[in-house]
Symmetry: C2
Subunit: 337 residues, 2 copies
């Protein structure tokens, strides 16, 4: 039985998303048990409104505090020791849960997880890994925002951690790893990127296939893309923004006349289908890699389906024992140095 | 009369795009004269196949060499002194043209322009500025790939140069300037970004409005976005990739059945309209800001319409005397320091 602690108060929707998502996940997975951490009245209210025969695999851990979405991580760490986020992480620390999922404040989650759970030996700061849609399926990418000044050593560690995760989770024995870079010839990357490329090509752990550019994220044949957290976060949000922009343009253009409005109605199922393919819900659940335990960050605005996906990502990582595997590979790596 | 030197051999299509684009631009603008630099036979062939009454404002400067798209900039600089790119830039240096437009190798163009024309006092390296589509119209952004390790001082200079250009070209007296950053609270940017924000908020030249995130590029109310060239290049290409990905998904989805194929045909004009709005051709022509003269980089794959747009961007900058204005503002800035 895998036990996963859920921060029921996190995200834009709190228990109204987390509780139904938990129910869906528990229904779908026999060996999953969840601890709903948060205000017991609010959680109970959500549970009550749902039919349930499986609540023996769900229990509530009452907490009185909430970490606000815009709260400073240092504040949360110091003054919110009875928050749903903190207690969910504490449950993992105490061994009462094997993973934690939160849609709350990213900075606070990162700081708290790092403080309570600690990073693996040799890792300074966890890196954020997530899945993105591509023309052929999907690709995983890290770091998406935790490390804003990554050295070549850091980027190399990201590649190792991502490789191990993909081997474990996706059953790809030698995941292809690309390094995000820019195109123009003379100015092909900075020194850090060049040194990282050197480290990666010499590695026996990482199957390094070379540089990829921004548009290559969606079209190149790789399983993992490695980048600095600043660059990765900008790329991720630019992608989201570009998709939203195209959606706006389509909507505005379909609104122009009664004829295009009619066309818009007819074509809606097709557009919906495309939206479904790139729906962030299908990709929700970013891993904080490099911690001694499993922590999954859900998008703050996640809906029930998306949060369920994040829980399932946590379950997979528990099943595959991801941190333990990463730890082993890193130990070998640091022993070699 | 403005004289613009065109690298007729640059880009994926060479004279077959550059010559008709030159003709279109000369027809549209009475006060424009162009010098077509490249293989005279190939250029003549293109000119011959077109009706022309305005060729008195077009002349050919024959050159025997071509800078290849994948050639190392240092090679081009050393061994291609009679290339179309180099001679077009030389014409500007000699005062025989007021601007140069090339769709050739970006690195070589950058290196050659910097070597031949020199940067303005206090500027190490030109920054690449281009326009992007947004939900409300367009925004300009720099640097898009020339400077891959920008300091806070560099980013600040980009903001000044971009501000002056927008004031001159777009007639916006106080362009709103945003600084590209990432979202998560604790990890809001690196030290360089924080120092840049400080510099920008203290500036009397720049109307700094704050941080913007990747998705904000398309939705925030700013006229100029400032970022490091590595980050900017990744963002630009990620945007292009995301748009291409959505196009692929739409095409694949419309192909699924005879009914959706029919729908696809009906809806084609709407999709075309949207494509037209975000068509890179409408935004083609990146400025190499910080040089003593005007150099415009066209996309390598530009079509006739797109290359014409790049020529018109050059013409505007000649008209508005952009380098001179930037030089003046920078002089004030460095005098203050």
């Amino acid at each position: 039985m895998a036990v996963i602690a859920l921060d029921a108060m996190g995200g834009d929707h709190g228990p109204s998303v987390v509780v139904p998502a938990a129910l869906a996940a528990v229904k779908a997975h026999d060996k999953l048990s969840v601890i709903l951490v948060g205000d017991s009245a609010s959680i109970q209210q959500q549970l009550g409104s749902l039919s349930e025969s499986i609540t023996n695999r769900m229990r509530i851990e009452h907490t009185a505090q909430i970490v606000e979405m815009d709260e400073a991580p240092s504040q949360a760490l110091r003054y919110k020791k009875n928050s749903s986020m903190r207690v969910a992480i504490d449950l993992v620390k105490e061994g009462l849960a094997q993973a934690c999922v939160s849609a709350g404040n990213t900075g606070a989650l990162m700081a708290t997880a790092r403080f309570v759970l600690r990073t693996l030996p040799g890792i300074d700061r966890p890196a954020i890994l997530a899945e993105l849609p591509t023309c052929k399926g999907r690709v995983r990418m890290l770091d998406l925002g935790a490390n804003v000044d990554s050295s070549a050593d850091h980027l190399f560690q990201f590649a190792v951690m991502g490789t191990v995760l993909i081997r474990a989770i996706d059953n790809i024995p030698h995941p292809k790893v690309g390094l995000l870079n820019i195109g123009a010839e003379e100015i092909k990357g900075n020194d850090c990127i060049k040194r990282t490329a050197q480290l990666l090509s010499e590695s026996s752990i990482v199957n390094y296939v070379g540089y990829i550019e921004g548009d290559g994220i969606f079209f190149d044949d790789v399983d993992l893309i490695v980048c600095d957290g600043f660059v990765g976060n900008v790329a991720l949000k630019t992608m989201e923004g570009a998709a939203k922009l195209i959606k706006c343009y389509l909507r505005d253009t379909f609104r122009r006349s009664w004829y295009t409005q009619l066309l818009g109605l007819m074509v809606k199922p097709v557009i919906q289908q495309v939206k479904k393919t790139i729906d962030p819900a299908n990709y929700n659940g970013a891993s904080l890699l490099g911690l001694r335990n499993i922590v999954i960050k859900s998008h703050g605005g996640a809906d029930i389906k998306a949060f369920t996906h994040a829980i399932e990502e946590a379950l997979l990582e528990v099943d595959k024992n991801v941190p333990e595997r990463i730890s082993r590979e890193l130990a070998v790596l640091f022993a070699e140095e």
